[in-house]
Amino acid sequence: MPEIDLAKTSVRELNAALHALTDDSNQTLWLVRNPGGKHAIAAGLDAPVTIEVEGPVGYYCAGMNKQGTVIVHGNAGTGVAENMMSGEVWIKGDASQSAGATGRGGLLVIEGNASARCGISMKGIDIVVKGDIGAMSAFMAQAGNLVVLGGAGENLGDSIYEARLFVRGPVKSLGADCVEKELTPDDHRILKDVLARAGINGEAKPGDFRLYGSARTLYHFHVDNAGSY
């Protein structure tokens, strides 16, 4: 198992080694020590391998991740898993602003709280936050599921398109064009599936959540396109 000590090796060297991995690599588990909050750790990964990071990471950790699994035993800075395409990112602590921003696929699980702008412009990613999320989360969210076991800050889902926002706790306020919706059987099934993938099989039930989404009244949304999302 490769072990990289970021007190001795640069993030650039670590990322170059990760970028060189192929789909059939035998080095499927990597350990990264002393991350020290450095930025862009394991960004641009494109191989079915697991990276475990022992400590806090800075900005854009696991950004653009494709196929990989990145587990951070600590807190994450701004933009964790931004623009993730596929794979999984697990944050054992808290995440800073813009977690999962613009993510297109994959699963981001934050065991602690996420702060402002969680899931901003999300485009298909599934995000599960076990704690609370901050203000302006899911701003202009387009597709995917944001599941929050705690509460949400102000202006949730402002200018939202078609993402689903499942929140179990209180929501301070909803942003423009974001409304509460009835959970359909489909929503129920989708939520149950996301919870199961995040390893939540009893501590929260789909029935405990409220669903928020687009009222579709903003001028640039046309209902005929609803099936495209």
């Binding site: 020290g36 909050g37 450095k38 400590g55 806090p56 800075g58 900005y59 807190n75 800075g77 701004t78 808290d94 800073s96 602003q97 602690g112 709280n113 702060s115 402002a116 901050g134 203000a135 302006m136 800050g153 102000e154």
Partner: protein
């Protein structure tokens, strides 16, 4: 960019550690602001005296000149390029005037009963070492690492800015109405040393508090009167405050325990604090005033 750190001790027994912890926090924020750094430390003081932190040429001459002018020896402590001159409160105005006349080019970096303020061009770790920040004790400290955007890399452009007794402010962001606000404040009698937008924010708070506002009230007024983006950390003689603009453009993370409240632009600036793993960790909400006071 720019990096901010702040540490407000609730547990007075930690006072001897204040400087070394602040120095470590500041050094970690070097990547965010490698061109200059500064810090304010609220240490020992007395109600009868005021400390003037000066950046002064011919510091060696100051001792003798002061004694012959005021008839008693100067209480001087030199640290790097700065000198802290402690004088009786009653002599403050007279001494400041005398310094301007006898030592032209002297910069008054800050004044306070307890506040000392140091700033210099260079890497934050070097700046902290040059002034022996690790050896300083006190109740609270605020620091800044600067990546200059709105004005040039000079010692004057470094933060914190102090525009009132025991008051200081550090800023990450950029104000868009600072020229108009500076003119307003000049009409209100405030004086400016630089063209820097952050100095305007500091002077705005000094003006509000001079007009009777509390620290919390002055910061609430900022939300109406200052345009642009900002994360402010503010120190007063007994207070420590944080405000982010309504969009919360600039990063901020805080840790609170029974012993301290700490601020960092990124979590890594807090990672070395004692028992931070047990702290209540949160990011300040947009447009919300946070104040802690002794």
């Amino acid at each position: 960019m720019c990096g901010i750190v702040g540490l407000f001790l609730k547990n007075k027994a930690m006072a001897p550690q204040l400087g070394s912890l602040t120095a470590q926090m500041l050094t970690v924020m070097s990547d965010r602001g490698p061109d200059s750094a500064g810090f304010a430390v609220y240490g020992a003081g007395s109600a009868e005296t005021v400390k003037l932190t000066l950046r002064i040429d011919h510091a060696a001459r100051l001792n003798e000149a002061f004694a012959s002018r005021f008839g008693f020896p100067a209480d001087l402590v030199q640290r790097g390029t700065h000198v802290v001159l402690t004088i009786p409160h009653a002599l403050e105005g007279e001494a400041r005037l005398w310094l301007t006349e006898q030592f032209p080019g002297t910069h008054l970096v800050g004044a306070g009963t307890r506040m000392e303020l140091y700033k210099e061009v260079g890497l934050p770790g070097d700046v902290a070492a040059q002034f022996d920040l690790p050896g300083m004790a006190g109740t609270h400290a605020i620091g800044h690492t600067r990546m200059a955007t709105e004005s040039s890399v000079t010692t004057d452009g470094a933060h914190p800015f102090s525009t009132g007794i025991d008051q200081c402010l550090v800023h990450n962001g950029s104000l868009s109405n600072h020229n108009a606000m500076r003119r307003t404040l000049i009409r209100e009698g405030m004086r400016f040393e630089t063209e820097n937008d952050s100095e305007v924010a500091a002077a705005y708070l000094t003006w509000r508090m001079r007009e009777g506002a509390s620290l919390s009230g002055a910061l609430t007024d900022c939300l109406d009167d200052l345009d642009g983006f900002y994360t402010f950390v503010v120190g007063t003689e007994g207070g420590f405050a944080v405000l982010r603009d309504p969009v919360a453009c600039k990063p901020a993370v805080m840790a609170e325990t029974d012993d301290y409240v700490a601020f960092g632009s990124e979590y890594r600036a807090l990672a070395m604090l004692p028992h931070v793993e047990k702290a209540r960790l949160f990011e300040p909400e947009p447009a919300k005033v946070y104040v802690w006071e002794h």
